[in-house]
């Protein structure tokens, strides 16, 4: 029997530690590697956001530890505005790229897409390994960017690479926002502090990340198209697979544009080209003589052509996981499966035609603005289809309120709460007022940040038993859910009010502004909420790592779910199906089928079971 197993699988089980856990070509190990990378990156991003909140609430406070770590960025322990700006930049970059893009797609997608379609691995296992390690290198380069800019010793090493790599300013990390708007991002040191080697490395890191994501997307699409097992027709795939597939298409078509833009930006900085730098530009009181003929607006077009699909790359896998989990714990089929498939595809495709709504005040013909506005609002239609179908799935159900279910319901709540303000910001007239205020920050944090993360929390609690063979602790999970759920609303609902008052985003201090005096109490409240919410995540980390070794043993199918991954042992064997090729006879969500023996029918159950 053992020989037969190896014959079916294309690569034998690895034996050494390095091939098994480090340079593994097993999609399950790679998936967990992605998840661990995201779990690491998210700590960095979260600490940064807490630091930002503390600076906003208690400006000028002495934080001795910061003074020790960053003698220039926080002299005497007092945070400089530059320090704050680089926190903004790095928080955004780390969260968007290395958390919201890696965990949902690279992590859970890698682990569960092949299993859910009945394949023994990805189409190209080596490519899969490459995409993780390329992404990992991107992360290391990004961390190096902080040091190259924030630490004068490390910065000095990089100055040997050329003028544009000249030692950083000593502020923590590069400055430019996660959007890196030209022309300031294209000019180098003349543009001010935080514009030296750090920005170069920031661009390089993102370019590397693009390559990693592209390799991953290639693999995902090929696998899904070509590796589905017998009986797994497209319309029998779990909605998670549809979500990962759509996300892979978005990544495939949007990351190359960012890569192209990044190359142009880097050339502007290191090779003296003028793609984004117009002629006759005055910066820091001096004329920039050597550049001519570029367009700063071009960078915004390239960036947002990528940037808008990117927010769907972050959230679509969460939508897939939510649909999947809602159905499982409502013990009902997903309401309107086909509509869900078309809606997720429609959201993905429409996402390519709305990038202009990020640029309403950047200089745009009012006619184009109207077109972008109408297209943007039209995304509300498939989004509403999804929301009502989620509600339809829950309607009249005997819901099992497990932790993953709570997080999935939380996802729906946050998606609606954050998405509804998209209808406000998508209108040109309203955006004129709200642009670059905390209202925008509230919108995208709720919908793309927190909602996606809730989708991933739901996925983690849901699939943890399959990945590690043990259950996560339910009580800790519920505690984690309730504090986080209330916490994120406590943080981001006040943001809307601040935005309506006119509080601009990315400002390090508000003390000087008369019209913002009244918001101080609110700012303080948000900070306290943020600190509590961030602290509660420690409970999640504890639960995650503790349950890995000490959790209650999980059976093959602890949630009584229907899809293929629940028909195999937990954790799954090296080739997923132990040499037995699954054959699919049922749709993914056959719960409470009238006349059936059990309240759920596995996809692999024979036809007779109905």
């Amino acid at each position: 029997m053992a020989e037969a197993i190896h014959e079916v699988h294309r690569h034998p089980a690895p034996t050494g530690f390095i091939r098994k856990y480090i340079f593994s070509i097993d999609h399950k190990v790679i998936g967990i590697q992605y998840i661990l990378l995201a779990l690491t990156a998210v700590i960095v991003g979260l600490v940064m956001s807490v630091l930002m909140r503390m600076n906003l609430s208690w400006p000028g406070t002495n934080w001795p530890i910061l003074g020790t770590l960053f003698p220039t960025g926080a002299p005497g322990g007092i945070m400089t505005p530059e320090f704050y700006l680089s926190l903004v930049t790095m928080h955004g970059t780390i969260m968007v790229f290395f958390v919201l893009t890696t965990a949902p797609q690279g992590g859970f997608g890698n682990y569960f897409l092949p299993i859910q379609i009945g394949a023994d691995d990805m189409a190209f296992p080596y490519l899969n390994m490459m995409s993780f390690w390329v992404t990992f290198v991107g992360f290391i380069v990004l961390l190096t960017a902080i040091l190259a800019e924030g630490n004068l010793t490390v910065g000095a090493w990089f100055s040997k690479l050329g003028e544009s790599f000249a030692a950083g300013s000593g502020t923590v990390g590069p400055i430019g926002g996660w959007t890196g708007y030209a022309p300031l991002s294209a000019l180098g040191k003349i543009a001010g502090p935080g514009q030296g080697a750090g920005v170069n490395l920031w661009i390089i890191s993102i370019a590397i990340f693009c390559v990693g994501s592209l390799l991953g997307a290639l693999n995902f699409i090929t696998t899904l198209l070509n590796m589905r097992t017998r009986g797994m027709t497209l319309m029998r795939m779990p909605l998670t697979c549809w979500a990962w597939f759509t996300t892979a298409i978005l990544a495939l078509l949007s990351f190359p544009v960012l890569l192209g833009g990044g190359i142009l930006l880097l050339l502007d900085r290191v090779a003296g080209t003028s793609f984004f730098i117009p002629g006759g530009l005055y910066v820091s009181g001096a004329l920039v003589p050597q550049h001519t003929g570029g367009s700063p607006l071009l960078w915004q077009h390239l960036f947002w052509f990528f940037g808008h699909p990117e927010v769907y790359i972050a959230i679509l896998p969460g939508m897939g996981a939510t649909s999947h989990i809602l159905s499982t714990f409502a013990r009902k089929p997903v309401f309107g499966y086909r509509a869900m498939v078309f809606a997720i595809f429609a959201i993905g495709m429409l996402g390519f035609f709305v990038w202009g709504h990020h640029m309403f005040i950047s200089g745009m013909s009012p006619y184009s603005a109207i077109a972008f506005s109408v297209l943007t609002l039209s995304i509300g239609v498939p989004s509403a289809i999804k929301t009502f179908n989620w509600l339809g799935t829950l309607w009249g159900a005997r819901i099992r309120f497990t932790t993953p279910m709570l997080f999935a319901i939380g996802f729906v709540s946050l998606f609606v709460a954050g998405g509804i303000t998209g209808l406000v910001l998508g209108q040109t007239s309203l955006d004129f007022f709200f642009h670059d205020t905390y209202f925008v920050t509230a919108h995208f944090h709720l919908v793309m940040g927190v909602a996606s993360i809730f989708g991933m929390f739901a996925a983690t609690y849901f699939w943890f038993p399959k990945m590690f063979g043990r259950m996560m602790n339910e009580n800790l999970g519920k505690f984690h859910f309730w504090i986080t759920f209330l916490g994120v609303y406590a943080i981001f609902v006040p943001f809307h009010a601040m935005g309506m008052v006119g509080m601009p985003r990315r400002y390090a201090q508000f003390g000087e502004y008369e019209f913002l005096k009244n918001t101080h109490g609110l700012v303080l409240f948000v900070t306290v909420a943020a600190i509590i919410t961030a602290a509660v995540q420690l409970v999640f980390y504890f639960n995650f790592f503790w349950s890995m070794f000490k959790g209650k043993k999980a059976g093959d199918n602890p949630w009584e779910a229907t899809t293929l991954e629940w028909g195999i042992p937990s954790p799954p064997p090296h080739d997923n199906f132990a040499g037995i090729i699954p054959e699919v006879h049922h749709g993914p969500y056959e719960f409470s089928v009238p006349g059936a023996a059990k309240d759920y029918i596995m996809q692999t159950d024979p036809e007779a079971a109905t």
């Binding site: 014959e7 079916v8 294309r10 189409a123 190209f124 592209l214 997307a217 290639l218 699409i221 090929t222 198209l225 070509n226 590796m227 589905r228 097992t229 017998r230 009986g231 797994m232 027709t233 497209l234 029998r236 495939l252 078509l253 949007s254 990351f255 190359p256 544009v257 890569l259 192209g260 833009g261 190359i263 142009l264 050339l267 090779a271 003296g272 080209t273 003028s274 793609f275 117009p278 002629g279 050597q290 001519t292 003929g293 570029g294 367009s295 071009l298 077009h301 390239l302 052509f305 090729i581 054959e583 699919v584």
Partner: protein, 223 residues
């Protein structure tokens, strides 16, 4: 049911003697891939599908760069640069290389492995010649005083040729691999894999040809 048993399919003549029947559809269609049909472990559509997907992403990058080109060409400070002659030569070389690639595939399908090797080597030489000619083009640009740094039109010359060249290097190494291994006599799975690889590499090669022609016309005509 006959479609899944791969031995049968592989034995059937397709394009020519010995050429495996081209699959009618992309992907498994949920009918189980051929690995599950018998002793085959290789879903042979994978290479071709992947190259198509890869081309989509490469197209997106070059569309982004070409859009930038078109936008910046509207700037009042845009200074057009004359097309260096070497790029005309390169264009001819790469066009011919597509023909030789097609010839190589045809010879293989006719079972003429010697001629296959010859045409493949010629393709390889033409590819190397193309890159050499591109380099010559850079020298001519230099001589004309058009550098990477400077006005966008001259920068785009280097950018397009460089970005295309890097992608072509990938194709070139794949063709080199095929040429080096062209003497091998393969059977069974390995043979099926090789045929799938040749098909995919040829597809990519033609794509590189078309991409260059597009970029060339853009640089030449859209000033």
């Amino acid at each position: 049911m006959a479609t899944v048993t791969s031995t049968e399919t592989a034995a059937k003549p397709g394009i020519g003697p010995g050429w495996p029947k081209p699959p009618g559809k992309n992907g498994s269609n949920g009918n189980g891939h051929r690995r599950f049909g018998g002793d085959k472990k290789f879903p042979k559509d994978s290479y071709r599908i992947t190259v198509w997907i890869l081309m989509a992403s490469i197209v997106m990058m070059f569309v982004a760069l070409a859009s930038s080109y078109i936008i910046l060409s509207g700037d009042e400070k845009w200074q057009p640069v004359r097309m260096p002659r070497a790029f005309l030569v390169s264009t001819a070389l790469i066009l011919v290389s597509s023909v030789t690639m097609t010839m190589a595939r045809r010879q293989l399908s006719l079972g003429q492995s010697g001629k296959y090797k010859a045409w493949l080597s010629l393709t390889l030489l033409l590819g190397i010649g193309f890159l050499a000619s591109q380099f010559k083009g850079w020298q001519q640009l230099f001589a004309a005083g058009a550098f990477l740094a400077g006005n966008p039109h001259s920068s785009f010359y280097y950018l397009f040729t460089g970005a295309h060249g890097i992608h072509l290097l990938g194709g070139l190494s794949a063709v080199t691999y095929l040429a080096v291994r062209s003497g091998q006599v393969l059977t069974g799975l390995a043979r099926e894999k090789r045929f799938a690889a040749i098909e995919a590499i040829a597809l990519y090669w033609h794509f590189m040809d078309g991409l260059w022609v597009g970029l060339f016309l853009l640089l030449w005509l859209w000033k």
